[in-house]
Amino acid sequence: MKEITRIHIAKVAYDVELAAKKDLEAYLKTLEEYSNDTEIIEDIEIRITEILAERSIKKDDVITEVDVVALKRQLGEPREFMTDGDIVVGSEDETMITSNSVRKLYRNTDNALVGGVLSGMASFFKIDAVWTRLAFIVLLFASFGVAILVYIVLWIAVPPARTAADKLQMVGRAVTVGSIRELNENEAGRLTPRGDVATRRALAIVAGIICIIGATGAAMATAVMLIAVIFGSQHTI
């Protein structure tokens, strides 16, 4: 008996074999890497439910691996149809997937020490992550640890650069089929700025350690102060 779990496709709930779910989720994730146009993804998800219905799989029925294979065959590989391939209208390689090449603030999870907030901010301000990290350490002491709260808020509020489109927008590049292909072909899958990688890495790690020590120290200092204040006020009562 194969392990069964649940999956939602276009808001329809199905039972699904574990392996089939992984396969299907990987497929949808690849689609998202090529486009952050949620409408396309939603429409394809709707189509998936229809193809399943044609295979007599309705709501709450079980999706098997065989179904997912058939599905993928019918829809095709994202690499085939999300790039130029058959669809070219307009100019070829600069087919815009999203029209804006505006720099956006994302958390850079590829170059993160903690949550990627400072690395993402560095990309946003077009500087090296070392500088935002140093600035953060200074702020950490200057603000008696309040900066750590700001960091946590940003960690929650700022989205991670997940898709290829996000990563391109993070560094202010236009999202085109060409630039996405370039990103995907880049082995590490990230847009590394120029410079000695080893040195930068070492610097980053040192900065990160200082950061963490600083943060713990500041947090402990704040905690001690808070306790002192509470105790102090209790004594005076």
């Binding site: 486009s35 396309i40 709707i46 189509r47 829809l75 085939e80 669809i87 209208v89 307009g90 087919t95």
Partner: protein, 114 residues
């Protein structure tokens, strides 16, 4: 320069891909030039007309044609399930389509002469 050996079929397929470029967009415009059509029915019409492409192709294409103002979509209630997206051609789309029709006629005329 040939990077690897291609069979005649593979080579022909590459040529066909080049030929289909633009042609698919034209076919979609034609399908949408009557009553508004539901996405899956567009796929059905195309496959019935034996235009062989993977289904996924249609989605970025529809999105693109819509962004360029050749198609527009509207939502229609469906008997079962949520409302569905129906596509219809715009005035601009009709103009583009008629120009492309002329160009295809020219291409056909060329073929007949050769």
């Amino acid at each position: 320069m040939m990077q690897q050996e291609l069979t005649s079929e593979e080579y022909a397929e590459q040529v066909a891909v080049q030929l289909r470029k633009g042609f698919l967009a034209y076919c979609v415009l034609r399908v949408c030039s009557g009553l508004p059509v539901y996405t899956s029915d567009i796929i059905k019409r195309l496959s019935e007309a034996e235009l062989v492409v993977v289904e996924g192709t249609i989605y970025p294409l529809l999105s693109r044609l819509q962004k360029d103002g050749l198609l527009a979509h509207e939502w229609q209630e469906s008997e079962q399930g949520p409302p569905r997206k129906y596509y219809r051609i715009t005035d601009f789309g009709i103009q583009v389509m008629s120009h492309v029709t002329k160009k295809i006629d020219t291409l056909n005329a060329t073929l007949k002469k050769l």
